[in-house]
Amino acid sequence: MIEIENVRKSFGELEVLKGINLTVDKGEVLTVIGGSGSGKSTLLTCINGLEPIDAGRIVIDGTDVHAKSTNLNKLRQKVGIVFQQWNAFPHLTVLENVMLAPRKVLGLSKAEAEAIAVRQLTHVGLAEKLSVYPNRMSGGQQQRMAIARALAMSPEYMLFDEVTSALDPMLVGEVLDTLRMLASEGMTMICVTHEMKFAREVSDRVAFFHQGVMAEIAPPEQLFDAPQHAETKKFLAATH
């Protein structure tokens, strides 16, 4: 369970999160929508501990992410994140990209790590690309590799930060299919996305962020078909 309590975060003068309260249960798929600058991506990096927060608490399965005593490296093994820019490691092959963290962070043997990596890469449909370098692949393939790389750590939670935003429209589908598959397998996921159709389809709940505030959260049918908040209506009207 991820519990977010009154989280505030500023970059200099700009307050990007103005007191967020949110709980995500095990097995839930939550999508977060909202305009740019609404703070939704920042929230994900804070959950993963990549950004410090100014106030409030984020607790994952009883562990306070931003407490001094928390071993973030340990915690991050439990919480995978995939970014808008897939950040493939260019000096490693696809297989090596996925094997690296299981070997060096989890301390698995080469054979064990390879078995996991092959399984995850096969899972995302990249079984044929194992010995290829990332720059030889399309953005969609690299993004799927990044997903496999995160999954290879056997995380209990996955955070997806606009994973299709940097892709050519042609390649969005293959990545969304991968996410759908994960959702159907029961992975706990928080997806920040602009893909409304996808959000409606896979989510248990959809949260709408506006200017650092979670303006509305509801099951997809309700949020998309009967939005309560004025800003939500405006946003949905603009994106349709």
Partner: protein, 221 residues
């Protein structure tokens, strides 16, 4: 104009001796590069650390290495350290001087290379649970070494050329030292030094070619 008779035969007889010297030259250059690379990586980490004292130390090293002559740096090792009661042999003085120079220039090259690696690479590593040192070692450093490979090769050639400075502090086993000894005995200056020049040229070219071959095998992406 040229009443001088060149005596190449006599000079060429000394070739085996000179080649032995060339081996010493290559040894010093390789050793100084190996140590220099390690120190340069440490200096780079110091500069990235955000700690004022460490990064100040690293910056001072880099700037002194780059803004004073290599020969001065060798003199410092040979004569300057004498004030602390440390008396280094010509070989050690030369090595220390070149290592100091190499480390400074290489650290600066690394800094340039790091600019080409996006922060998101570190972030991606950290998000997989790596410590910051792991992320540097496993993700940033390999890319940094690749980007900086050409300047590193150039520095290797520089290191070879710098070894010739040892003769000024009494080094007599490297190529220039051996040549100077032969010259002092026979006064066939031009012949001996011309042969030395050819050997230096060949070494420099061989190193460049070897580096290129190494790069094409190592960097497949």
């Amino acid at each position: 104009m040229f009443s001088y008779t060149f005596q190449w035969k006599q000079a060429l007889k000394a070739l085996p001796q000179m080649l032995d010297g060339a081996l010493v030259t290559l040894q010093i250059a390789l050793l100084s590069m190996a140590i220099g690379l390690v120190i340069a990586i440490i200096l780079t980490l110091f500069r990235m650390s955000g700690n004022r004292i460490l990064s100040g130390f690293a910056t001072a090293w880099v700037e002194i290495a780059r803004n004073t002559p290599a020969l001065f740096q060798i003199y410092m090792a040979h004569f300057g350290l004498g004030s602390f009661g440390i008396h280094l042999s010509p070989f050690t003085s030369l090595l220390v001087g070149i290592v100091f120079n190499n480390a400074g220039y290489l650290a600066e090259n690394f800094r340039g290379a790091l600019k080409a690696i996006p922060d998101t690479q570190t972030r991606a590593g950290r998000s997989l649970g790596m410590s910051s040192l792991q992320a540097f070692r496993l993700i940033v450093m390999p890319q940094m070494l690749r980007i900086a490979f050409l300047p590193v090769t150039n520095q290797m050639v520089w290191a070879i050329l710098m070894t010739s400075l040892g003769v000024t502090v009494g080094m007599n086993t490297d190529l220039t030292g051996v040549t100077q000894d032969l010259n002092a005995r026979s006064f066939r200056t031009f012949e001996f030094f011309a042969i030395a020049a050819v050997i230096y040229y060949v070494i420099a070219k061989a190193v460049t070619l070897a580096a290129r071959a190494f790069a094409s095998r190592m960097f497949r992406y």
